[in-house]
Subunit: 344 residues, 4 copies
């Protein structure tokens, strides 16, 4: 069986594992106060234009999301996101568990617009019973989105403008950041992400690391007490250098971008194969996740050889499924699937 079900079904990129092997006999200080975390922070910051940014390494996406949100907001503040946002749909109410309401807006292609966000924030500003409703204090976006789509630079700039206008932080979940930046249609750089957001992260779990997310705080207002929040939320790894080392390995020579770019090129081969066969996309995605609508019989046929993710029922005879490439996908795996699609 070949797995296209997600982008976290393999261990680590060989270079990452090699680094862990090479340093396993060394000893380090704990809790992220070590040379590798320092070096990794420096490497990541080379891609930004924020000399004062601070980088913290957390273990996973859910943890990063609720820790950032709980740290940033006052008790009566809420966070705006797309109705398909990961914090709203797949994190077991982790954000609410920290006490904060999520204001989910209808999404299109996985995205929400500056206009929608402004309208939602305006509801609060214009309200004459403000104390009876939560104040939107943050906007949460995913780049790329849950459906693999990406925001354009103009879209991000417009959202940023709304955030400034209404006094909201902008938080960009980059669990799949590498795949988003590698999209052919992407006109955004990590520098833009950093300049336009108050906090974002570059995912490691799905982009070549064993685990880990590099949370970048660019807004100084968010820095005070952030390490305390990390610890309080169980997100401070005792052997913190394991995270620093992995991110150093991924960022120091651009490996992060190289392997996610390759994964996206593989996804484009799949996209083309489906298109050529007349199998429609559920959403047009330029990144490593491809959502297509299969006849159920085809779905069943492909599932004998490939593992992919069932998403939802389209009608009695059709289903939406996801094929996902990753840094660990090989050309052989792609060739097999492309050939099997063609032969359907």
């Amino acid at each position: 069986m070949i797995r296209f079900n997600n982008d976290y079904n393999h261990g680590a990129h060989p270079a990452v594992l090699e680094a862990l092997n090479a340093t396993n006999h060394e000893s380090y200080g704990g809790y992220g106060l070590d040379e590798w975390c320092e070096k990794a922070e420096a490497e990541i910051k080379k891609y930004l234009d924020c000399p004062d940014a601070r980088v913290h390494f957390l273990l996973g996406g859910t943890q990063a999301n609720y820790t950032v949100i709980a740290s940033a907001l006052r008790p009566y503040q809420s966070v705006i996101c797309a109705d398909c946002g990961h914090i709203h749909t797949h994190e077991t109410g982790a954000v609410e568990n920290t006490g904060h309401k999520i204001q989910a807006l209808p999404s299109r292609d996985g995205k929400i617009t500056a206009a929608q966000i402004a309208a939602e924030a305006e509801l609060y500003r214009a309200s004459d019973v403000q104390e009876h409703i939560t104040q939107p204090g943050m906007v949460y976006l995913s780049f790329p989105t849950e459906f693999g789509t990406i925001y354009s630079l103009d879209e991000l700039k417009a959202i940023r403008q709304v955030c400034l206008e209404y006094g909201m932080y902008l938080f960009i979940d980059g669990a799949r950041m590498g795949y988003g930046l590698a999209a052919g249609s992407c006109d955004v750089t990590l520098k833009d992400i950093a300049a336009l957001s108050d906090v974002f992260y570059c995912g490691g779990t799905k982009c070549g690391a064993l685990f880990g997310e590099a949370v970048v705080l660019t807004n100084p207002a968010l820095m005070t007490g952030f390490r305390s929040c990390i610890k309080q939320n169980g997100a401070m790894l005792a052997k913190g250098w394991l995270l620093g080392l992995q991110f150093y390995t991924l960022f120091q020579d651009g490996l992060y971008f190289e392997i996610t770019k390759k994964a996206v090129s593989y996804a484009m081969q799949l996209k083309d194969a489906f298109a050529k066969k007349g199998i429609p996309a559920y959403i047009e995605s330029p990144t490593n996740q491809q959502f297509v609508i299969l006849e159920n019989s085809v779905m069943e046929q492909l599932s004998r050889k490939y593992i992919f993710e069932y998403e939802l029922k389209i009608d009695e005879d059709h289903s939406c499924v996801r094929f996902c490439t990753s840094w660990s996908t090989t050309q052989e795996e792609i060739d097999a699937l492309v050939s099997d699609i063609a032969a359907l």
Copy 2:
């Protein structure tokens, strides 16, 4: 100016105030452990068929709502409600502040259906990633709803059936219970409410008391530790007898039902007056809240003499507003408004 803006703009029904005056020189035990709370519980239970029910007196609706919900749910459980539900729209995220997600469903006439609730609950039951989503542990209804409408007995029975089927508690917010039961079209009794729900409350604040809500627990599973939750949530009044005394006064001879019935009859006079004038209802309400669509010029004209609540903009020239009667409304006030409507 005559106030039709809400049903909590006056103090207490004279009988309630009289009771407070009559007992002001007496001394009592604290924290709801007094004879008046006992007597009030007994009076309320006369209207139910639940000999083992327990009645607790809290101070207000928001407090009652989040205390009940936080007491009933495990950390990963959520509560289903209508998208216009008070807990979702007007309580500053109080429920989320206790750690629980609200799953809001689209409402029609302020209501949600058994089928909708079942579908939402089924999403969880049928999920193969249950640990990634919250488990609906409770359904929250308002009787009457935010728009003054009421559930029929059949509707409540169907919802109850779904709750049993999916292992969810049914919680009925009765901040305006008296007005709901007094509706001409109402085929539900307080006995039904008690039999079909696990917990509900009869509001005092809006129905003749200075303040206070009588929370009735019928499901024994909800009783353990409930007083601890009341105290922890700041909802235990030191001079608890003030609540017991008010509810005893309201329930001991049916005053609660008498005054809310009168208020509803007043509302029906308004309803008729608007209808006669061709002023359309926004939603057909059989209770003390009447939502109508006024031309803005008419709205302005009426607002010179009456205070009523602006709800939302319908179009450039029309607005939805609410006229609310209450236990304190007088026939003179109604006559004045009816006459002014006729003269428009």
Copy 3:
């Protein structure tokens, strides 16, 4: 039976009830946005020297305590208090329920010292693992304390100094403020309380009101969003004018101070009676709560005619009990008890 068990066993001072009667036919805006709340705020501020202070009226002490604390602190911050502090011992973990740790210090005569607080705060400042411990962000004092004792002006000034030095808010719980200020040995004024704290409250529940606490914010940093926190914590009374009216009545002509002063003079008569009889005080209290050590046989004898509060076992034959006077205590009640003590 005559009640000396606490200071909240009667309704309201007649003047308060009279005010409620006199205005019961009037109608007001809701949620504390009414003329009585405004007037009450103005009256209270006459006793302060803080033109920019803001006064909010909450319903009870537990509610006031956790709402203030939750509103003021970041998630990783804790509150320092005496080990006998009400928030630590009698509020069912309400503060922890909002997510904050209490750092309880050993008390003497119900009080903690500036030196103790500084030492505790220094533990954090000097720590090289700050992220692993909570940061004290607030000091909570009671004036008077749980044992009826009071802080001197010098003590408060010293504590204030420590708070400034370590960046902590000072919060003074004044549930019995009136009784404290009325103590013969008190060298503190309400002006001092306001000048030395960031937030404090004057209790109504125990000092003549039916219920209610007047929370005074003097530090502007605490004002943003405070009404939202009130609502979120179920502490916003729909008929907010009921609170404003009561506090206006109590403060407009100094009634608050007059009735608590009388209660303290009654307590001094009890204190003298016990001393004359050779019955030792458990703690020397200059306020309305008197803690004495009774032989169990005496305790039993007195309990046939008086209700008072058992505190703790001293030894096999002796117990500490509390006799509490209040605004509702009468000279006749005092005379009876004084005479019975003399006759023991």
Copy 4:
């Protein structure tokens, strides 16, 4: 520099890293639903006598602690622990952040007794104001304790008895479980730990794994919803097999016990060396942590070659410090330090 500062300053035991290397090219299902987690659970259960126990793999100690506690307790319940308990002193208020109060009892040699626990629980049971205080719902112990000491079988049995008597769960934090079981004086087996507690964990982070704690639930009442709590608290690793694989490697042939036993034998060599030199122990520890009282000059001298942890000031001239061995300590490192101690 040689590190004796803690037991988590190196990567993983070579066998663990080898297992990661050997499986890195494989793909697995996510979130702990994989063959390695299953196998690891089976291996761990071989050491227990609880066929129905369930094993979950979390990432670190703080996370395991608060997730277990938050999952087990009702909102008004608290957890009893030693005043030196890790949850009380070094986790940034993580337990309080989930809403629960900690009731810390004075410890002796890092331990609390059954009698102390019973007395604390009795305070609640005997209280006539139960709703005003938190209910102890769980006892938290560490095995070994923060000071390296261990509970005897009789002590654990007595504590268990108290827990049963008062309806409290017993939770044993075994972040250093392997070192505790390896103590010469230990008369407790993992079977006993499982039989006497409702939930416990075997630490991996400090005992040979890169990271991870194996949480064992033996009480079925704690199992419902536990995976939801794991996810909600950010404790569910996407690549869960990384945890299963590590624990399988450590437990499948007893490696876990072998390497911790060796570390304890090293610690005993240090203990003897200090004793021989007349350097007093701060606390007599039979496990891998040795606390000794050094003259400050000696402390400084040793710190030129060794890294160890400063604990606290004893007097002007003496300090308590900790020397910690681990699975990664070598005989050469021990020999060096022993020789340097002898030469002092």
